[in-house]
């Protein structure tokens, strides 16, 4: 089994004296789905944003798909990682001035230099897969939140990434829209995508995750398989968090 992401002793501090990440180590095998949970401000977003260089490290070492990143890294490895790792944000972050199709084909055409026609074909396929093919020629503002988030997933997938990062992809959605996005992610996991998912969706974690990691105050509290995490978590802090979730 190959390792997709290996993190060793990651440290990140935005303001001197406080640490958003305080010595985080973990491994994600390729094909694995890791769900990250934890209270607000525990460093979940910070962690997965270091995986593709959106946040610079202050200490420790990262190995993403064989590319090394540390506190002193240069720009070049980040570019390579970003080409191979997709990311989906809580707020979708679609480009409002581009149609859905252009949102999806922008990077394949401009970064990977694929022919426009081929990129559009692939985009339509992906939209089909997400169940929103008929939206291709609309603009982001004309879509519901759930539809926008599925476009965002399609946009990330269009680059054929080897790893997908999700930062609370359903938190900004109406409850009745959550399912359509989770279904798309479930399908992605079934197809064998390596995924790191920050989410508070217990059902999704229980059913799809291979492992659940619980964080608090910039540290990993525990990592276990979902069944044991949800029935009898080892740590007091995890149990308290779970009891508040229900």
């Amino acid at each position: 089994m190959t390792v997709a992401i290996r993190a060793t002793d990651l440290v990140k501090s935005y303001t001197p004296g406080s640490r958003a990440l305080d010595g985080v180590s973990l491994e994600v095998a390729s094909g694995e789905v890791l769900v990250v949970m934890g209270p607000s401000g525990s460093g979940k977003s910070t962690l997965i944003r270091t995986f593709n260089g959106l946040e610079k490290l202050d200490g420790g070492e990262l190995d993403v798909l064989g590319v090394r990143l540390d506190a002193a890294h240069e720009e070049r490895p980040v570019c390579e990682i970003r080409r191979r790792v997709g990311m989906v944000f809580q707020q979708f972050n679609l480009f409002p001035h581009l149609s859905i199709l252009d949102n999806i084909t922008l990077a394949p055409v401009k970064v990977q230099k694929r022919p426009k026609v081929q990129a559009e074909q692939r985009a339509i396929e992906l939209l089909d897969q997400m169940g929103i093919r008929e939206q291709a020629h609309k603009f982001p503002a004309q879509l519901s939140g759930g539809q926008q988030q599925r476009v965002a997933i399609a946009r990330a997938l269009a680059l054929d990434p080897e790893v997908m990062l999700f930062d609370e992809p359903t938190s900004a959605l109406d409850p009745e829209r959550v399912k359509e996005v989770l279904d798309a992610m479930r399908q992605l996991a079934r197809d064998g995508m390596t995924m790191v998912v920050v989410t508070h969706e217990l059902g999704f974690a229980r059913e799809v995750a291979d492992r659940v990691m619980f964080m608090d105050q910039g540290q990993v509290v525990e990592t276990s398989d979902p069944a044991s995490f949800f029935t009898n978590a080892r740590e007091e802090r995890s149990r308290r968090f779970l009891s508040q979730m229900v």
């Binding site: 944000f89 480009f95 001035h97 922008l106 401009k110 970064v111 680059l159």
Partner: protein, 324 residues
């Protein structure tokens, strides 16, 4: 509002407006003499352009009017619509070629350029030049490199501190001093350059406002897709920023058109300049009001057309209303 107050305001205003209308009618019917406008129409339009060549500026202006009509009233879809922005951009070089001559056309010296033609050329030319300079200045002012940031900021702030008439005046005097000896540029080109340098500082601030309105998450989303900083700027950030800045850029364009009239003080015979020389003619002595009203109507129409066009563009660019 208090009903009595409301009524008396209406009454007073009606009386005032009535008096105004009456005196205007009185003047129009009894005192006004439109000879100064009617008999000099060609001068207002093309200045002292050679008579046998007048079709050139006229052709350009007719093309402009047709283009305005097509943009505002034409079909919303169609093959031509896609090329519309490019056609608009092409109007400046086209006008320059038609008016200046060269390349198959007989050259006409800038001394003979005048009237509304010159007003339009000054506006188009300097606007087209100022936009890219302004965008670069705005980017410079937000740059991480201190040299760029400081020099852009200094340029913008100094330029915005001085009055336009001074920039134009000193542009005429000083631009030649900064050029290599032997290289000379004519008065019209100097004016266009000075206008462009001036307008660029204001455009830069409008564009900077647009840039500031783009949330940083847009850059992040672009970065995550592997777009380089330059690509993210060009494909994601700038298109949105310019769209946000469009209303204020329109105001700048309207201002530019109005401000070309300042060249009259410096001796160019654009629309206002030609009128001043007409009013100096003893035949038309004292016909100020007729000429000024006529000019006001022309400027008002041109500025309003410009504002309408921009409003139209804004609606077309709004992703919510557009349906391609």
């Amino acid at each position: 509002m208090n009903r009595w107050l409301n009524r008396s305001v209406t009454l007073v205003l009606t009386a005032l407006i009535g008096w105004g209308v009456w005196s205007v009618l009185h003047w129009l019917l009894l005192a006004a003499d439109w000879q100064v406008v009617v008999s000099n129409l060609p001068l207002y339009v093309v200045g002292s352009y050679p008579v046998d060549q007048r079709w050139r500026p006229l052709l350009w202006m007719i093309a402009l009017v047709v283009l305005i009509g097509f943009t505002l009233l034409g079909p919303r879809r169609g093959p031509l619509q896609r090329w519309l922005p490019l056609i608009w951009l092409a109007m400046a070089p086209l006008g320059l070629w038609l008016v200046a001559g060269g390349m198959m056309l007989e050259p006409v010296s800038t001394r003979d350029w005048g009237g509304f033609t010159l007003t339009l050329l000054l506006t188009f030319g300097s606007g087209l030049l100022a936009l890219p300079i302004g965008v670069l200045l705005a980017l410079g002012r937000r740059s991480r490199l201190p040299v760029l940031r400081l020099s852009s900021t200094a340029y913008i702030e100094l330029m915005r501190a001085v009055p336009l008439i001074a920039v134009l005046f000193f542009g005429q005097l000083l631009i030649p001093l900064f050029l290599p000896p032997g290289l000379e540029i004519n008065r019209v080109l100097r004016a266009v350059l000075a206008f462009a340098f001036f307008a660029a500082a204001y455009i830069a601030e409008d564009v900077r406002g647009g840039l500031q309105a783009i949330p940083p998450t847009q850059r992040e989303a672009a970065a995550v897709l592997g777009l380089s900083e330059w690509q993210s700027l060009q494909l994601v950030v700038l298109p949105q920023a310019l769209r946000i800045a469009l209303p204020s850029l329109t105001n700048q364009a309207v201002g530019l058109l109005q401000n070309t009239s300042l060249m009259a003080i410096l001796g160019l015979v654009e629309l206002l300049g030609i009128s001043r020389s007409l009013l100096a003619n003893p035949v038309f002595i004292g016909r100020f009001l007729e000429v000024y009203l006529w000019l006001a109507a022309v400027y008002w129409l041109a500025c309003t057309a410009m504002a309408l066009l921009a409003r139209h563009l804004e609606l077309r660019l709004d992703p919510l209303r557009s349906d391609r």
